[in-house]
């Protein structure tokens, strides 16, 4: 079974890309997992449209990328039990600091061409560890903007594969299809690890404490002046 992990900011077109991947790979039986925070309907839409196993996980108080990491092994087991040839995991796409890609997977970062010329720099970690960058809504920008956006992505990582698409129409997807086709299957789920190290997010805000100011919290904290993190508590 192949593992495909799709990350990218909210509303970049991740689900539109997912739909195209499922559509253009009829030879692979897909399973789909959506991770989101409070609301997601993509699993139902995908299930109804393609009649494939689809699931969602709400992360609630936990950071959604952390939640995804926690449940990924069980999700692989679920997809294998369903007899899938490819498990597509779509992230919630929130803090842009986590990179949810793992070893033995194919990592896709989805960026919207209309999200602003500086957006690639803002989600640098998500781009740096991906296998391919898919730029959506390419039909809405000029040739010049397209080229500039591409250079901005290349500025984060010079050798990243880039696919430009109008994901709703499916233009330009032939190169993504090929790359997914060439991606190897999972070798051994037990040895899968994250490609990057997620940021520390272990403080009492993470578990729902609402006070402002570091003095009211425990865990990994920081103050206004200085970038250093400090730890308070047991």
């Amino acid at each position: 079974m192949k593992l495909v992990i799709i990350a990218g900011p909210p509303s970049a077109g991740k689900t539109a890309v997912t739909r195209q991947i499922i559509r253009i790979h009829p030879e692979l039986k897909s399973a789909y997992l959506k991770i989101d925070v409070v609301c997601a309907t993509e699993d139902e839409e995908i299930r109804n449209e393609f009649h494939i196993p689809a699931k969602k996980v709400y992360s609630g108080d936990l950071c959604p990328d952390h939640a995804g990491i926690m449940i990924l092994d069980e999700a692989i087991e679920w997809a294998m039990t369903e007899g899938a040839d490819m498990l597509i995991v779509e992230s919630a796409g929130l803090c842009l600091r986590c990179t949810p890609y793992t070893t033995q997977s194919f990592g896709i970062v989805v960026l919207s061409a209309i999200s602003g010329i500086q957006s690639p720099a803002k989600m640098a970690p998500m781009i740096a560890l991906a296998d391919i960058a898919v730029v959506t809504r390419i039909d809405l920008v000029s040739q010049a903007e397209k080229e500039v956006f591409r250079e901005k992505i290349r500025g984060i990582r010079g050798d990243i594969d880039i696919v430009e698409t109008n994901a709703v129409q499916g233009t330009g997807m032939r190169y993504l299809t090929r790359a997914i086709g060439e991606a190897p299957d999972i070798e051994n789920p037990a040895t899968i690890t994250l490609r990057g190290i997620p940021p520390l997010g272990v403080c009492t805000v993470c578990i729902g404490k609402t006070n402002i100011g570091w003095k009211h919290h425990t865990g990994v904290l920081r103050q206004l002046d200085g970038d250093a993190l400090m730890f308070r508590g047991d």
Partner: protein, 261 residues
């Protein structure tokens, strides 16, 4: 950025919406050629130039195939916008990039891998030949009018992208000086494809590709046979243009407009 000289783009036929093969064997486009794509709305005009823009390889709905210099183009032409020999100016006249005109053009120059500061002002000067309202270097891209944006994009495609083939989707829509655009593009020896509803733009092209039901139904090469129609159209366009300028200038038109044609 383009190592190989583009001598010829070949379009091989696909099928119409009923699955019937298109009415041509091969269409060749060479530098300096002008072609207009005409036909009713929904007849497949935009799909035709999109096939060229993405170098379709029997993998689009039309089933067409595009060759460069007689063979399948290298992948870079398709995937790397900076290596692509084709620039498409779409009907979209909004620029989303919130930078000043000069910063935007500078960024585009850099992404093309070269920097000649004078090229920025040259591009603005050229754009100003196409539009009635002059563009200045320090205004923001997002505050340009539709016509100004379109003019700047055409000038950018000629001087900065500098591609041998330019595709223009309804150039007449944004109220820019279309004859001037055609003239300049010819001077720069570009191959030009217009998707158009404009009679004058159609008549001024060397060839007309007529679309119907998602496919090419006819390729017309007038070869001088339409001289009379062109003269008549230029005359009418002169009157319309003159009146438009007078109305824009706030004049009251009480006399027949004199035209120099």
């Amino acid at each position: 950025m383009i190592e190989e000289t583009i001598r010829d783009i070949t379009i091989l036929p696909g099928r119409n919406r009923k699955g019937i093969q298109e009415a041509f064997l091969e269409i060749h486009i060479r530098p300096g050629d002008t072609l207009s794509i005409v036909g009713p709305t929904g007849s497949g005009k935009s799909a035709f130039i999109n096939d060229i823009e993405i170098f379709a390889n029997r993998d689009t709905v039309t089933g067409r195939q595009i060759l460069v210099n007689g063979k399948l183009p290298p992948e870079r032409y398709v995937r790397d916008p900076a290596a692509k020999p084709v620039a498409l100016i779409t009907q979209n006249t909004r620029c989303l990039c919130d930078l000043s005109v000069s910063d935007f053009l500078r960024m585009h120059l850099l992404s093309r891998g070269y920097m000649k500061e004078s090229c920025i002002q040259e591009t603005i000067n050229l754009a100003n030949q196409f539009t009635g309202e002059p563009i200045t270097a320090h205004v923001r891209m997002t505050s340009l009018s539709g016509g100004q944006t379109r003019s700047l994009m055409v000038a950018d495609a000629i001087l900065i992208s500098n591609t041998p083939i330019i595709l223009l989707d309804e150039v007449e829509n944004a109220g820019i000086f279309k004859e001037k655009v055609i003239e300049v593009l010819r001077q720069h020896h570009k191959a030009l494809l217009f998707v158009t509803h404009d009679p004058l733009v159609s008549l001024l092209s060397d060839r007309r590709i007529v679309m119907q039901d998602g496919a090419v139904s006819k390729v017309i090469e007038p070869d001088g046979a339409e001289e009379h129609a062109i003269r008549q159209m230029l005359h009418m366009d002169g009157i319309i243009g003159r009146m438009r300028e007078m109305i824009r200038a706030g004049e009251l038109i009480t006399q027949p407009v004199p035209v120099s044609w």
